[in-house]
Symmetry: C2
Subunit: 160 residues, 2 copies
């Protein structure tokens, strides 16, 4: 069962690569209002050319409306997410890209899928959500992970 | 059991991203002499700053000694390997980076390992090999995947 609005996020041990090595981030433990979007894969066309840019364009508007942090989650390792965050400009926009390295968080959300022909296994369906104190307020989930419409930054912004 | 010299490579369905989408490559079916090196992960420091550069430096010398192709194998998806091949200069050096997207080939070789703290699961130990008509002539396997000495291009070249 996929997570839905009103439910608490599962505990997560998402990874990011800092100066001191890998650090763990638990999105469910963050207080205040945050925006999260999930993408099928770093360096894939839909994620690099559509989804990420939509949040880079709108990051300042989310912050102006009281969103304390913007997080992108993908089933990749933290070396890949770091390179991708730099390559896309997510870093400069203040968007934190977190690695669900073993895919456990994505499975706990019930949002995993495989696209074997493209070499993608246990990846995150494309979604965006607003979360307050770990509880999902708004969830925009694409029916097809190849599409980026409901889950785009501009559309999520309308719910604020 | 890890593969050893004199043995045939297992069948592989490694992926690369071409103009027409993903293509499958079976290293065990290639005729002639080829060089293969395995790396724990695209965009990791050891692979990007040591292992790949060692084969970029020596690619022409391998070809001069009759090596028909130089292949790098990593447990990443083909979108990540494509970005990494461009980023490191592997493309320009004529080194083909192949994605063992589900890790099946690496497991069949018996060369998989986990480094959970770094977010790496089912990855390839660091190795280099010379293969003729699908049979392993030379195998240089690092005891620690963090080290790049035996498996470096310059060392493998000595066996030719």
């Amino acid at each position: 069962m996929a997570i839905t609005t009103g439910e608490k996020l599962p505990h997560s041990e998402l990874l990011k690569l800092g100066a001191e090595g890998t650090e763990k981030v638990d999105l469910s433990a963050l207080s205040g209002k945050i925006a999260i979007f999930g993408v099928p894969g770093a360096f894939t066309p839909g994620c690099s050319q559509a989804h990420m840019p939509s949040f880079i364009r709108t990051a300042d508007q989310f912050r102006a409306k009281g969103v304390a942090g913007i997080y992108c989650v993908t089933v990749n390792d933290p070396f890949v997410t770091k390179a991708w965050a730099k390559d896309t400009g997510a870093d400069q926009a203040g968007i934190e890209v977190l690695a669900d390295a073993d895919g456990a968080y994505t499975k706990a959300l019930g949002l995993n899928f495989d696209a074997a022909a493209a070499g993608l296994y246990g990846r995150t369906k494309r979604y965006a959500m607003l979360v307050t104190d770990g509880v999902v307020d708004v969830l925009e989930l694409e029916v097809s992970p190849g599409v980026c419409e409901l889950s785009a930054g501009e559309n999520l912004l309308k719910s604020l």
